[in-house]
């Protein structure tokens, strides 16, 4: 059982900020991993903003998630500058290696695969981001080697 009192504390910490909903949701997501219905309901109670409006915001922005995700989020860029430098081949190889499609999580809960919008690192395209770490100049082989590394670390920590 999660301690929903933390939601109240987070809301309270923004009482001096005008229209802080997005900040509140960011902090709440950090605390609980994702924005569950239970958590969002509590945010609605604490902020007195209608739940429907909060749900609308939570589903609009790509950094918010209302579903639980894998331990590592793999965000691949497929925007035009990455695309003309071969991001499609990289992406295909990653999908093959992880055995999942976009927006899916591996059965072991290790990786969630998503697209990212342009990260502004186009001079080293193609690019992907794993959690907060950025990797550039990718080839299909290099991408898989990076993910293997995360897998090894994950297994040794387990």
């Amino acid at each position: 059982m999660q301690n929903l009192d933390r939601v109240d504390e987070i809301v309270k910490s923004y009482q001096d900020v005008k229209t802080p909903l997005i900040y509140i949701l960011k902090d709440v997501q950090k605390e609980f991993g994702y924005l569950s219905e239970e958590v969002l309901t509590r945010v609605a109670l604490a902020t007195k903003i209608p739940l429907s409006e909060i749900y609308g915001v939570a589903t609009f922005y790509s950094l918010f998630t209302i579903k639980p995700k894998g331990r590592h989020i793999v965000r691949c860029c497929n925007n035009a500058p990455c695309f003309v430098n071969g991001s499609k081949e990289v992406l295909d190889k990653i999908k093959e290696y992880l055995g999942i499609e976009m927006n899916e999580t591996t059965p072991d809960g290790m990786f969630t695969l998503e697209f990212t919008s342009c990260l502004g690192l186009c001079a080293v395209a193609p690019v992907m981001m794993v959690d907060d770490e950025v990797y550039g100049n990718l080839t299909p082989e290099k991408a898989v080697a990076i993910l293997k590394d995360y897998k090894m670390k994950g297994l040794s920590n387990a």
Partner: protein
């Protein structure tokens, strides 16, 4: 007193290639060699060299090193710093056949550049307000607050002819005069740093390289229109820019350059940072305002325009990072100086990011009126792998399409407008002749289909339908009617969509259809042949 300064470029590109570890090793090994009092290590923003690993510049010699690894640090210290011999194998050469550049600004790629907005980027420590001040920083603010009335500032901006560098190129001085004329209080200045256009990272590098220039520009805008509060709305993904601008704001407050009664003039101004949460549409000014208000970032109907009714219903100026970074220089050196740069109708410089199939990708600042050929071949060193030039997309994924026939067209706002393109956000995507135009256009439409905010039907449904048509054509099952339908739908969207996203999404599609229609026809008939 330090005998030698080593600048280490700590931008998002070099960090991804290990700059932090090199810096730590450098500091540690300098201490071990007891050189810490003689050699100063300065972190700076981008020096404009990309994809060449970690970049160091050693002063006073002005030697550039690229591809520096942790294990190279000891050699640089023992050879260069102690014995005075340059480590040739790491020295940066701009063009393989030419001798290495000796100092900042001497490399051929810098030759055609004029640095106004980027004058400090890669030269000063962006975390040090003292270095900014030592380079004329906050002098423009002091001049404006003590010698100019707000209307003088606006008049100077109007005279300069500066146009908004976010993509719309609306005259900045004119926009400010609208907000200045409003009676409602409070008023707000918003810096639009929500940079989501694919291929564009100029604003991030301005913020990372010279955050105080943006703060000073915002304070000048605040003084001109009568605002006392500013917001920097910045992409949540831009962690480094966020921490740099936060630190810079704090330093400015400590020095009395933000806060109450700045320069004893009675003018008060402060800035808060607002982080985005991942939505391309939030770069549109009214969607951005909605997002600061804690809502879904959907665009508002215009008019009323933000200078009259903006953030929390109050007069609001939304300016792009690059626009604001131009302002201190214009106020300090005057509109007449600014007009000596660029062309009559498009004064000043433009910061471009050059990406795609290009030998020397990266960030450049050039006078308006430069040609595509000069940018691609003189500054970017052409196309890799001996391939030919197929097309360039100017201004990000919403940008117009330029082909070989436009290589010698002077790039100005008015010239590009004439051929249905624009300078946009300043991203220049170079595409070589091995690329498939149909697949490229499909990639553009996938992007818009994902990023449409869903508010208006034309954009929400239109992009989805365009994608279906393109999938059919690219799989070889399309027909000439599909191509015609695509063109007609794109034209309708351009005319009827609610905001800039839906109106601009068709631009590259129509551009590619105009210049490469035969490629689409060929894709259709490829399927027909296979079926036969």
């Amino acid at each position: 007193m330090h005998r030698i300064h080593i600048l280490i470029a700590m931008d998002s590109h070099t960090l991804a290639q290990g700059a932090r570890a090199v810096r730590d090793t450098l500091i540690k090994e300098l201490e071990m060699a007891s050189l810490q009092n003689e050699v100063k290590v300065i972190e700076t923003g981008s020096v404009g060299i990309y994809n060449k690993g970690v970049v160091l510049v050693v002063f006073p010699d002005g030697v550039y090193y690229t591809g520096v690894k942790v294990e190279d640090v000891a050699e640089i210290i023992s050879e260069h710093l102690i014995k005075g011999r340059v480590v040739e194998r790491l020295r940066y050469t701009d063009v393989p056949s030419e001798p290495a550049p000796k100092a900042v600004g001497e490399a051929p790629r810098f030759g055609k550049q004029v640095r106004v907005v980027l004058k400090n980027a890669g030269r000063i420590d962006p975390d040090s307000i003292e270095e900014y001040i030592a380079n004329d920083g906050y002098e423009a603010l002091g001049k404006a607050l003590t010698q100019m009335k707000p209307e003088d500032v606006i008049a100077e901006m109007k005279k300069s002819g500066l146009q908004g560098r976010g993509g719309a190129f609306f005259p900045t001085g004119l926009k400010w005069s609208f907000a200045a004329a409003e009676k409602a209080q409070p008023k707000y200045i918003v810096c639009n740093a929500d940079e989501g256009e694919p291929g564009t990272f100029k604003d991030r590098l301005i913020l990372e390289g010279d955050p105080h220039a943006v703060i000073e520009g915002m304070a000048l805008a605040g003084y001109a229109v009568g605002a006392s509060m500013g917001y920097v709305y910045i992409r949540g993904e831009y962690k480094m820019s966020i921490s740099r601008i936060r630190r810079a704001i704090e330093q400015a407050r400590q020095h009395g350059l933000l806060g109450n009664n700045i320069f004893g003039s009675g003018f008060s101004f402060d800035i808060e940072v607002r982080e985005g949460a991942g939505a391309y549409i939030c770069g549109e000014e009214t969607a951005l305002i909605e997002s600061i208000e804690g809502k879904r970032g959907e665009p508002r109907d215009k008019p009323p325009f933000p200078p009259s009714v903006g953030l929390w219903g109050k007069p609001t100026i939304v300016n792009n990072v690059e626009t604001l970074a131009n302002v201190p220089q214009i106020i300090l050196k005057g509109a007449d100086w600014f007009r000596t740069l660029g062309t009559e109708k498009s004064p000043g410089t433009k910061v471009f990011t050059m990406v795609g199939n290009i030998n020397n990708p990266g960030l450049i600042e050039v006078p308006m009126g430069i040609t595509l050929r000069e940018i691609i071949y003189d500054i970017g060193h052409g196309i890799p792998g001996g391939k030919g030039f197929k097309l360039a997309q100017m201004g990000g994924t919403t940008g117009g399409i330029l082909t070989a026939e436009h290589l010698d067209l002077p790039m100005t706002v008015e010239n590009l407008r004439e051929i249905g393109a624009g300078l946009g956000s300043g991203a220049l995507l170079v595409v070589d002749d091995s690329q498939d135009v149909v697949e490229l256009v499909k990639n553009f439409v996938e992007f818009f289909n994902h990023e449409s905010c869903g508010k208006c039907t034309l954009c929400r449904e239109g992009n989805g339908r365009l994608l279906q048509l393109l999938e059919r054509i690219s799989s070889g099952h399309g027909s000439i009617e599909d191509i015609d339908l695509m063109e007609s739908l794109a034209t309708t969207m351009m005319r009827g969509a609610f905001c800039g996203l839906g109106q601009a999404a068709p631009i590259p599609i129509l551009g590619c259809l105009k210049y490469f229609r035969q490629d689409f026809v060929a894709a259709c008939s490829a399927g027909a042949k296979a079926a036969a």
